[in-house]
């Protein structure tokens, strides 16, 4: 098991099933009913280890989740979720919302350092079962426990946390409601959903319908919901006590990222449509295989969107501008999009002022949620953007309530600056340094499409005086390689330009392949511009090493096997027309019947299997593709906490 666990002299035997220790069986009762002294909880916990040296896994009888909901009175301000929180797990791009929602980093910023460690150690392995709601649980020490709203819960959980038992027993006890099997992911989520639903119902009056109403996808709702759940679980005063066991439970629990929104689900798509800002055009000829992906919104929406500018009063103009740029394709490339989005949020935060009777944290989170949903409508988020949003929301959630509004805003803006600086700008510098060591004199380097990191590497190596040639491979329909080619040639590199079909021809002179990535998934699959997989495959067949250059903030814990499960659809008309070649006009005059039979597919991304990759160059160093989940797991907390 985990090395961090204390090794015991006596092996534990896991008892599965209902096990009533010598303590009162209604263990979880006190938590739920908010009655009963805290110490009633302790006996079972402390008793169990004492009673028998074998501390079994105690699985409390399943409680009805509605019990808990009484506890959370008006706690959760669900920001403008008009529809009942049906599925917590829905969301087209949930940047591990479970992480967002459930992983509550140490509550206070002040007590950050030591409290987090303390939590870890004291909690040991608080496996899940602490639904986000009951975020009020927290570690024994290091926090100012000022129980305001739900003292019982707080203390109850606290008491549970006392004994640093590092087994699932605690989990069972501490958990308010769920059967604490190690693998009840679904159960936990269901509990979460139900409690959220009830909480939402309870706090509906108070819920501020923010611009989140324009959100089309649940993704935003989900993160906002979960995000709000933990911090708002208790009152403002207790908002500092964010689930102590949550972090532990988060990590152990291997938060499974909730599945993304599937667009072939009629009910969800219908709701999304009602909320959307843009006209949802029905794809003319939607490909059966890709019905689960949102259809492309092309630049023809631009005038429509422009005309709606004054109606979208809740969207900050900076965000609106970025959205327009996404829609038209002026801004493309993972890093560029991410930076533009974060800077737009910065401006929005600077101009933000808390409405009366609302708390900054909640309101701002919901506003950000609204912005994100607008951006998603313009163009689906990339995974790196999702990670950045997750970071921002966690920073907002961790704002100590004692800060004044201006201080909080300044803190957030500086956080965003720090993120951009550390995770993107400096990371790029580190990557360039690492990768330049892999370039020798006489090398022939092949690159595909246009990746900003690879461009930086090539220019840097050229400045260092290394003698090498570059082969730029390009493909339709984006033809991004031409721009890269122009910039490289302007700087004096000798280049060869070719198209994707010719890679078998050119590969026998190539010594290294440098590629960029939009994201790298936990099974080592590289999710990148369409065609990258073909380049990597041919390079592998010719035994040419393939290096992927990617910042670590783009890593994601999702897994994907092929390019069809998740992708982005581009403009189908870009396939039928070849710019600059008027002779290619075969598809101009088709009869209607013929048009029915013909479908045009324009994929934007594809998934390269990890076997084709030799090495990934990140700001954490040069790692093999199998180490990506390690980085995700070990360093994710770090970048969320910064």
């Amino acid at each position: 098991m985990d090395a961090r666990r204390v090794t015991r002299a006596v092996p534990r035997v896991r008892q599965v099933g209902f096990f009533t220790p010598n303590a009162p069986p209604e263990q979880p009762g006190p938590v739920r009913s908010q009655s009963g002294p805290p110490n009633s909880n302790s006996p079972p916990l402390s008793g169990s280890p004492a009673s028998n040296s074998l501390s079994p896994v105690m699985i409390p009888p399943p409680r009805h989740l509605s019990d808990n909901l009484g506890a959370r009175t008006g706690a959760v301000p669900v920001p403008g979720r008009a529809n009942a929180g049906d599925h917590a797990t829905v969301g087209s791009y949930n940047p591990a919302d479970s992480v967002l929602g459930l992983e509550s980093p140490p509550p206070t910023r002040i007590g950050d350092g030591e409290s987090s460690e303390e939590t870890e150690s004291s909690l040991g392995w608080y496996r899940r079962n602490n639904p986000a709601k009951f975020a009020s649980s927290f570690p024994g020490g290091g926090f100012d426990l000022s129980p305001v709203k739900q003292p019982e819960i707080v203390s109850g959980v606290e008491a549970k946390n006392q004994p640093p038992e590092k087994n699932e027993v605690q989990k069972g006890q501490a958990s308010s409601s769920k059967p604490s099997k190690a693998k009840t992911t679904k159960a936990e989520r269901r509990a979460l959903q139900e409690s959220q639903r009830a909480a939402k119902a309870a706090s509906k009056a108070e819920a501020n319908k923010s611009g989140g109403g324009a959100a089309s996808s649940k993704t935003v709702k989900q993160p906002s919901q979960k995000k709000d759940a933990p911090p708002v679980a208790s009152s403002v005063a207790t908002s500092e006590r964010i689930g102590v066991d949550r972090p532990a439970e988060k990590e152990r629990k291997k938060d499974v990222p909730p599945p993304r929104m599937q667009f072939d689900d009629e009910s969800r798509v219908g709701k999304a449509k009602r909320r959307s800002v843009l006209n949802q055009t029905e794809a003319r000829n939607s490909i059966e295989l890709f019905r689960h992906l949102p259809p492309h919104k092309n630049g023809t929406q631009l005038p429509y969107l422009e005309s709606k500018f004054f109606e979208l009063h809740d969207k900050h103009p900076a965000v609106y501008k970025v959205g327009l740029q996404y829609l038209t394709g002026d801004l493309s490339g993972g890093n560029a999009r991410c930076i533009a989005m974060l800077q737009a949020f910065q401006e929005a935060i600077r101009d933000y002022s808390t409405p009366p009777e609302k708390t900054l944290i909640r309101d701002l989170t919901s506003k950000i949620g609204g912005f994100v949903s607008f951006l998603i409508e313009c163009r689906p988020l990339s995974m790196s953007m999702g990670n950045a949003i997750r970071f921002l929301k966690s920073r907002i959630a961790k704002l100590p309530p004692i800060l004044s509004e201006s201080e909080a805003k300044a803190a957030l803006c500086s956080d965003i600056d720090r993120f951009i600086n550390e995770k993107i700008v400096l990371a790029d510098k580190v990557i360039v340094r690492h990768a330049a060591t892999k370039i020798r004199d006489g090398d022939v380097l092949l690159t595909y499409g246009s990746s900003c990191v690879v461009e930086m590497i090539l220019l840097y190596a050229h400045e260092l005086g290394k003698q090498f040639r570059v082969v730029v491979v390009d493909s339709r329909p984006m033809l991004e390689g031409k721009k890269l080619l122009r910039r490289l040639v302007a700087k004096g590199l000798s280049c060869t330009y070719t198209h994707l079909n010719a890679i078998s021809y050119i590969m026998h002179e190539v010594t290294r392949v440098l590629l960029g990535a939009s994201s790298i998934l936990s099974n080592g699959t590289v999710y990148s511009r369409v065609g990258t997989a073909s380049v990597a495959m041919v390079a592998y067949a010719y035994r040419v090493p393939v290096l992927i250059c990617c910042e670590a903030y783009k890593f994601h814990e999702r897994v994907q096997l092929d390019s069809i499960c998740f992708n982005e659809l581009g403009d189908p008309d870009a396939i039928a027309k070849v710019p600059g070649r008027v002779d290619v006009n075969y598809l101009d005059n088709l009869s209607d019947k013929q048009k029915e039979n013909l479908k045009l597919l324009n994929l934007k991304y594809d998934a390269t299997p990890s076997d084709y990759i030799s090495m990934i160059v990140t700001d954490y160093g040069m790692i093999p593709p199998t180490s990506v989940p390690v980085i995700v797991r070990e360093y994710r907390k770090e970048y969320l906490l910064i």
């Binding site: 329909p477 004096g492 330009y497 079909n501 026998h508």
Partner: protein, 322 residues
């Protein structure tokens, strides 16, 4: 690159020819003996009739006087030779025109129901193949990769939809992404080499590698006239053609980089635009020719049907002074 391909002139004709010959050189004797075992090759034909053979060879250089000086029977022999050659060429043309039907007849054996077929570029053989299957009421869908930079895939897609097939047009970059959902890859060939390798339109090596990775059968349709007795050594370079860079880059955009005469030491920008790709035999699952389906390792045998060992290399006749 192409060896001479001459369908077998019938043995009978040739024997009759030889009987008339008054003088037989040693080479001719050897040739005669060879000819009884195998269909005569152009080489043997020309050897057997050295004098009259010299006539067509040198006639282009205006050696008519020599021809006229020969006896009449030699001129009739040369006429017969010309006749034979012309007939053989006609047969070859006939073969080329009818190979599509013979190949398309086999479509029903390979395409069944609810299949997904991938192809790249455009090939008339493939078009006929798919349409034959469609006529036999097999249901299938076709993914056509457009095949930059000639974009022949657009043409094929248009033809297929005109004949009522469900077609999806994709870019070449999406081939790897889509191939996991494909049942079979069917392509045409430009030439089939002696080892079973294929000279195919550019991009097909990439498709063949992707098909191998996903265990999708890679089927090559080739009429037997595409067989070539050469063994591909360094095929990417020797058996390839490079086309104009204007198909990839607009000259106007990059004229400052591509003009070598600009004189300011600007870095050279090379543009590579090959026409063909070489697909090694281990990536090909099946060849479907007008004589049936074959393994790549068998293709060399078929060459013996169409080429004689003598014709594998066209040799220049030693100057005999005639």
């Amino acid at each position: 690159m192409a060896g001479l391909n001459l369908s077998a002139v019938s043995d009978d004709e040739d024997d009759a020819d030889r009987d008339d010959r008054p003088v037989l050189s040693a080479a001719a004797v050897a040739a005669a003996s060879r000819s009884t075992l195998r269909p005569p090759s152009l080489q043997t034909l020309l050897e057997d009739v050295p004098d009259s053979a010299a006539v067509p060879h040198t006639s282009s250089s205006g050696g008519d006087s020599e021809g006229k000086s020969k006896s009449a029977d030699k001129s009739s022999r040369s006429r017969k030779l010309k006749h034979d050659v012309i007939e053989a060429v006609n047969e070859l043309i006939q073969d080329i025109n009818t190979c599509h039907e013979q190949i398309a007849e086999q479509a029903v054996e390979h395409i069944h129901q609810n299949e997904v077929i991938l192809t790249l570029g455009s090939s008339r053989t493939v078009l006929e193949f798919l349409c034959a299957a469609k006529e036999k009421k097999r249901s299938f869908r076709v993914f056509v990769a457009e095949g930059a930079p000639r974009y022949q895939g657009h043409l094929l897609a248009k033809e297929l939809v005109a004949r009522g097939l469900q077609t999806t047009l994709i870019t070449d970059s999406a081939v790897f992404a889509m191939i996991s959902r494909v049942n079979m890859v069917i392509v045409g060939a430009h030439a089939v080499m002696a080892n079973g390798g294929v000279i195919a339109p550019v991009g097909l090596n990439m498709v063949a590698l992707a098909a191998q990775k996903h265990a999708v059968p890679f089927v090559v349709l080739a009429g037997s006239h595409k067989l070539c007795p050469l063994y591909p050594h360094n095929p990417e370079v020797l058996l390839n053609e490079l086309r104009s860079p204007s198909e990839l880059l607009d000259f106007g955009e990059f004229s400052d980089c591509m003009d070598f005469g600009s004189g300011n030491g600007a870095p050279l920008l090379h543009v590579v635009n090959p026409t063909f790709d070489y697909v090694p035999p281990k990536l090909v699952s099946l060849f479907i020719t007008d004589t049936g389906g074959h393994n790549p390792s068998y293709m060399y045998r078929l060459i013996a049907d169409y080429y004689s060992a003598d014709d594998l290399v066209v040799q220049r006749r030693p100057t005999s002074g005639n």
